[in-house]
Structures are given as C-alpha cells and as structure tokens.
C-alpha cells in the first residue's frame, strides 16, 4: 500500500512538471507580450524590445520556462519587481521565496495577495456545495439503483435527468427569478459582505443551490447505474439466497462494490467545484477564483491566469490521487499490485 502510494506520488510529480510546461507554452504563445502590456499600445517597438531584454523575455522558450520555475521555487528574483524598472511593484515577502507566482499586472500586486481571498471564498463555496452534493447524490443514486426498474427508480432517474440537463446559467436565472424577484427571500448578488438585510449565510444559498443542482443529477445517475449493475451480480443473489433482507443486502453487499466506479467521478466534481465555477460565480458576482479567472483572462493578466490554471491542475492531480487511493481501499482485489 505504501509503495503504491509512493509510486502514485512520483507519477503525480511527473504529471505536474509536464502539464506545467504545456501550460507555460500555451500562455506564452498567447498574443501580446508582458512588455507590450506594461508599456501600452503606443510604445515604440524598440522600447518593447528593450523591456523584453530586461525581463528576459527574448530568451529561448526552455530558458524562459526554467526562469519561471526558478522564480516559483524562490531561487531567482522576479525581474518585474526590480525598482529600476519603475513599475511600482513590490512584494512584502521579499523577492525570493518558495511559491512566488509573480505579479498580477491587473492589480499591481503579488499574485499571492490577489488570490488569497478569492481562494478562501471559492473553497467555502465548494465545501458547502460538496457537503450537500455527496450525501444527496449518494442517497438518490443508491435509492434508485437498489430499486432499479421500479416506479421510484423511474421518478428519481427522470428527476435527475431534468436537473442535469438544465445548464448552470439557466438554473441561476430561474432561481433568481423565483427567490429574488418574486419572493424577495434571498439576495440577488453574493459579494460576501454582510449587510443589515442579508447575512453571509443567506448570500451563499443561491450559488450553492446552482452548483448542487448542476452536479447532483449527474453524479446520482452514475451512482444509480453502478448500483443497478451491482444488484444483478451473482454475489448479491447469494446474499438473497442466504435469506438476508433487502436492506441488509444493499448495505452490506451492494454499496461498497457499487461505489467503486463512481468514486472517481465524485472526486472530479470536487476538482471542478474549486477550480472552475466561472459561470456560477459570475452570475452571483461571487468574489471567488472562477470570477477572478474570467477577469484575468479578459485583461490578459498572464501571471494570474497561469497561477489559477496551475492551481486547478494541482487540485485535479491531488483529487485523482485520492480517487486512486480510495479505489484501492474499496477494492481488495487491486491491493498490493
């Protein structure tokens, strides 16, 4: 088990390095350079070239990638922070530290400072949504799958199908119309600033509801399919022929086996919830990472886009590692291989 986990962690590191390089290449090839952005559209080409030189942007691609990694690891100072450039960028942590993601040109601040709060907000949103999604989708999926083919199953499956097919933005607008415009029970935006009228908790309700709706149907359907498939297995029949009750059969023999395939899907949802709920955050003006990513992309804030994407990659890799480990824990057949 330990050897397995270690091997997976090494694989994870390799994945991280390769994907970070790809990410770097893609963002570096996007139109416009950092120098052009700093100097503005009216700067002369030789001025741009001069700044490129100072920032090390005229070096070949692998060299630039290495520079970027060195800055990230705290081995090198970020040339943008050089007071001689007069860009007025400074970092309270000094110019060399581990995890230096550079400066956000949009906010004229280190990326770490820009990201801290949105990241916390997104984590809060994702965590609350996950707390609802996991039990709800498992409950619906297991209930439908254990009674596959019955009316209960058909009602639940149909409900899941409808919920899944409503896109996030539509669900957002529908909920806004009902609960904000019509009933005025909930706030229309969620800037996470407590006011007299709306508490922070009340501001979370609608974004969480949209995320839950978008995910539960999908996950529940996958859980249902896996459960229904497990119900037809000969060992479930063995349990029936032993004289166990339906409840005993489902809780002891079906759930553990039926949860093996949906586990990966469930953890992928976690990844999506933290890293990329752009639509939902934009609708509710929720100050999270998704909305920040959208702003950074529109502005062309390379360092910020790179950092957020890198974080999503890291989260994806870690959740997949968790999925693999939980798969091994659930399935004794793959142990020690």
């Amino acid at each position: 088990m330990l050897a397995f986990a270690l091997r997976r962690i090494v694989q994870l590191l390799v994945t991280a390095i390769i994907s970070s390089f790809l990410l770097f290449v893609v963002t570096e090839f996007s139109p416009g350079t950092v120098s052009r952005q700093i100097l503005g559209p009216y700067a002369l080409p030789n001025q741009v070239a001069l700044l490129d030189q100072k920032l090390g942007l005229s070096q070949p691609l692998p060299q630039r990638y290495l520079n970027w990694l060195s800055i990230l690891a705290g081995l090198k100072a970020n040339p943008l922070g050089d007071p001689a450039l007069g860009l007025d960028l400074s970092d309270s942590r000094g110019d060399r530290y581990f995890g230096n993601f550079g400066y956000s040109l949009m906010f004229k601040q280190p990326v770490r400072d820009v990201l801290r709060e949105p990241l916390e907000n997104s984590a809060l949103l994702g965590a609350v949504a996950m707390v609802l999604i996991v039990p709800l989708s498992l409950f619906v999926g297991i209930l439908a799958g254990a009674n596959a083919g019955t009316r209960l199953d058909r009602v639940l499956s149909f409900g899941c199908l409808i919920v899944t097919s409503i896109p996030e933005y539509a669900a957002g607008v529908i909920l806004l119309t009902i609960f904000v415009s019509y009933f005025n029970w909930l706030p229309g935006t969620s800037p996470l600033l407590a006011t007299e009228e709306w508490s922070i908790a009340s501001q979370l309700v609608l974004p969480v509801a949209v995320l839950t709706l978008a995910t539960v149907g999908y996950v529940a359907r996958i859980v249902r399919a896996s459960m229904a498939d497990t119900m037809t297995k000969p060992y479930v029949r063995t349990a029936l022929l032993k004289g166990l009750t339906k409840r005993q059969i489902v809780t002891r023999h079906v759930i553990r086996n039926g949860m093996i395939p949906p586990m990966t899907v469930l953890l992928l949802q976690l990844n999506w919830l933290i890293g990329g709920v752009v639509v939902c955050e934009s609708i509710f003006a929720y100050p999270g990472v998704g909305r920040l990513l959208l702003q950074a992309g529109l502005f062309g804030d390379l360092a910020l886009v790179q950092t957020i994407t890198l974080l999503s990659l890291a989260i994806a890799a870690v959740t997949q590692l968790l999925a693999d480990i939980s798969y091994v824990a659930l399935n004794p057949r793959v142990r020690l291989t």
Binding site: G149, Y235, T238, A239, L241, Q248, N331
Partner: protein
Amino acid sequence: MSPLLQVENLSLVYGGDQVVRDLSFTIGRGESLGLVGESGSGKSSVANVIIGDLPKIARAQGRIRYEGIDLLGASREQLRALRGRRIGFVQQDPGASLNPTMRIGRQLAEALEQSDTPVRARGERAAEMLSRVGFDNPGAIMARYPHQISGGQQQRVMIAMALLPRPDLILLDEPTSGLDVTVEAAVINLIAELRAQFGTSLLFISHNLNLVAKACDRVGVLYAGDLVEEAPAGEVFQNPLHPYTQGLVNCLPGQAAVLRPIRGHVPSPQERGPGCLFASRCAYHLAGSCDAPFDMTAPDRSHRVRCARLGDIPAFARQTGAPEARGLDTAPPAVTIRQLRKSYPASGGDHFVANDGIDLEIRQGEILGLVGESGSGKSTLAKIIAGFDVATSGTIMVGDTDIASLPVRRRSRALLRQVQMVFQNPDSTLNPTHTIGWALGRAIRKLETPGTSPKTRVPDLLGLVALLPGLGSRRPKALSGGQRQRVAIARALAGRPRLLLADECVSALDVSVQAAIIELLQDIRARTGTAILFISHDLPLVRQISDRIIVLFRGKPMEVGSASQVYSLPLHPYTEALLSTGQHRAPELEQLVPGTARPAGGCPYVQRCARVVGDICWTQAPAYQRAASGHEIYCHIPPDRLLELQRASLPAHG
C-alpha cells in the same frame, strides 16, 4: 410419509413463452434428484421457482409444496425465512457468487444470521464447517478475500455456506461449470460425502448427464421444458427409454465408439406445439399420436417416460468399443515444434513459464488432442502457433519457415493460409452486422489462391460443413450456436489450411450439438487431409476425436502417445490422476492458488504427485522415457515400475 419437496403440474411462462410445461416430481428426505437438460430446457428456472426468485415477467402455475408449505403462494417474508435456513442454494460460477470486497469468514457468518446460533459461536461454526468441506486451515481461509483462493476452494466455500444453517434441501445449479476436471470430480465427491453425513436432500441441476448420474439417486431429463424421462441414475445409461434420452447417451463422449449426434435443434418457445416437443427430431415420430397432448407413462415403479409411442421404441442398444484412431506414424509432419518456451514476467522480477521446452510434431492429416487443466499453457501454445503471441525461445517450423516469433501481422498470406484457428465462442467471433456469405467471401478473398471466385467457393464451403447454401444470405443472429460454429469452421477452412487449431471449440455448445461438430471435424480431416490440434479440458471428448494425445501440465508435456496408449495405459502419475478423477479425492485441491510456487529444477508435477520417489523429484528435472513406440512420459520412475505401483494401489480406490 410425505416427500420433502413435491412439485405438481408446474408450468412456467416468461411473457408469452412457455419455459416449463406440466412438470411433476418429488424429492424425499435424504434423497437426491438430478435434472439434466441442454440450454433452453428450463432447468435453472425450476430451481429459481422453488427458491422464489424469478424475473418479474415470469408466471408460475401448479403447486410446489415444501414440508406442507405452498411455495408458490408463500409471502415474501415466508420465502425469505425458508431461504438459507431450510433450503440452501449453490450457484454456478463460485468466483462471481462470492462478494469480492468481503472476507470469507464474514460471508460465512452471514449464512447463520437467520438461525438461533449466538453471534459468538458463528465464527466457530463456520470454521468447523470449513474443515468438514476439506480445509486444513479454516482460520486462514476465513481471513482471506475470495480472489485469494482457487476456483475449487471457492466452490467448497459456497457449499460450506449452503450447509452451515443445516438446511433440509440444497439446490445445486451447475455447481461445477467453469471448474477444472480434477476439481470438478473433487467437488462432486464432496457433495456425495456430505450428503451421506448430513442426510440433506439434493436437487442437482446440470447439463452434464455423467455428473448428475454420479451424484444422484434419480435423474430427470428435461427437454424444452418437458420432463421426458425420470429414472434411477443407473437406468438412464443402461436402459434409456425416451428417444431423446437415448440420443443424449449416444452423444456422450466415452459411452460408445462413435458419437451419434441428434439432428435438428431444440424448438424455440414459439415453435412449441401441444404435443411431444421432441417430435421434430425424433426418428419414431408418428403424426397422429405424437402431436396431441399426452401424459407420462410409468413402465415400472421407479421409471417414468413421456412418450406416446413408448411401446414402439426399440430397446436401447449401445455400440461398445473404443473409438477408432488412425495410426499416422509415418505421415510427414505438418508442423514441427522444437524446444518451445514462453515465459511472462511475473511480480517480483519472477517469470511465469507458460510453455516449457515443448518438443512436438503435428503430422499431416492427424487429429492431435491437447489436454490439461486451466493454466497448463494449452491456449498459450495455440496462440503462439496462430501468431497472436510470440515465443520466448524455440522454433515452430511450417515447411521451411520458423513461425515461433512471427506475429500474425508479419506473416505472409501463404503462411496465414497454412495455419487457421477456430475459436471457443462462435457468438462473439462472427461479426453480427455482416451476412455469413460476406464473412466467408472475405476469408476466401484473403486466404484463397488467386483465380477462385468467392461466388462458387462460398456454397462449397457451406457444403463442406454441412450447411445449406441458402444460409449464406443470413446474419449470424439467425443461426443456432452449432450452425455458427460450423460457419466459423468453414471460415478457417477457406484457405485449405495445413493445420487447424481448435481451442475448446465445442465447450460452449450443448452435448448433442457438440457431438455433431466432432463428427464434422473428423469428416473434414478425412476429406481435406488437414491436421487438427484439438485443445480441450474434456478428457472423454479428446479421447473420442484424437489419434494422438499430449497431456500438458504447467507448460510441460507429461505424456505423449496414441489415444489408446494414453487412455488405456496411462503411465504418468498426472495422467493417471486425471483419468481416475471419478474414483478418488484428488489431493491437489489442498494446495493454494495454483501456478504460484514452482520447485526450482525439479519435476513440475512434484507437489501434487502421489508417487514421489525421493529428493530426485524435487531437485532434478526428469528426462523423457519411452514406454512404447510413440509413447513417452516425463518422469523419473521407469514405466514398468509405474505400472506395478498402479496395480498395487488399485484396491485402495475400491
């Protein structure tokens, strides 16, 4: 005293299809009844209706009484109370019937949950039952997961599980399908032993008449949902009265010199009329009397037959004698295999040796039978010859070409033509979207020498495998299993191959169809002169078809000889054990997952061998010894001495 289980006029309908018709039988206390039938005979449905687990579309009529309880009218709770506690059930495929994520001990303890056994005593009871079904170390087995024990052990665990609550009746639905011959024999013996110990009644359901007759007092023969004959086990072989039973016995390998298949096919539920369902295949069919409904008749107290013309059916005459084998010692080799070795990397830098130094000649026009249990490397050998895998070392000469390390992609067309293969399952080897004619036509274009037109060759090929030319325009779905396998054989024959590889090519088919395919293969060999490597785990079947036989164990040929030499005078201890599996408990079951441990340098069979002579068996690889012309064994003990030993131990087997 009333019988334990009484089934009266049971009819079972799935949707609009009649699955079981007017079935009546009884099982007394301590009695065992076997139900045999081919696929579609409704035998499994009978077990399912007794235990009350039927698909939703099923409708049952009639009466099933178990100790006075009406099972068809019982509530769900009543049925649940009976299951496990009073009526045990052993399913087929033990590997799939055990929960893969639960330890065996816990699964066994669950069987006692409905009983009065206190929780603390359950583990002990389970361990005790495990030792009674032949485990030396119940504690260790109970701590394992199902995938950590072998198939035979899994089935013994299932039997222990069914026996634990001490039920009065156990239903066994194909309990040995998917198990090796030696393991199968051990499981059957175990069942018989336990029945004597516990006095449990049995309903044993199988497609295998031999097994059922061995394990049961009485045998019922099902055909298309009709019980056509019920008789004491011995009577079924000695004096079968129904034409179908007679035909079935004639199809069984090992019963007669020549297999006589039953022509035609089992009527589908839509084709079934009110009269005798076997009429369409029966030689004694008489339009008037057979087509109307009629009852079973009882020629004597213990024998019942459902046949309208019972008086006119001649007594069963068995053709005794050994199958005829052709001596082809002088024929030139079609394929010559020298020092063939195949090993796969295993965990821990180890190697799993699938084929180990095989020397073999397949002569032109001979049928060479290759027998061995699963994991013995017989399919690996076929795969390497066919080019789906490559050998680690050694040569396979076809003409002047070595094909041992030539994968099928790199073989020339002429080479492909020479070696062709027929696969086990015809359902999955024919593309369902193309017609039979298209599939054969493509094989002809790919394999046939230029100049022949598929138009004329397709009917030729269909004729060669005894199919009507009209079938060429049909799709595989419209064909029966036997017809599909004939098409698969025709495809392989398109290039007039020098060698035909038949890997378990009849094991997915029913006995009557199987006999017809065997007959066809022999006929094709006679007409086209192609050599056939016939691979199977079914010993009587291999005996029936082969001229020469090679017995493989862990990748090494243990004994090679003509069919009569190997079967009437088995010398190697392994062959002896294989052939005598019916008589005594095979000791090899006690060992754990097979194929893992392997003595370094010694004889591969040493761990299971009953005739080990000393350290030499463990440390030194034996050499091949010649017992007679063309008869060789891989053993340290001289052939004469082996014969003496066999004679000496004979009375012990009783």
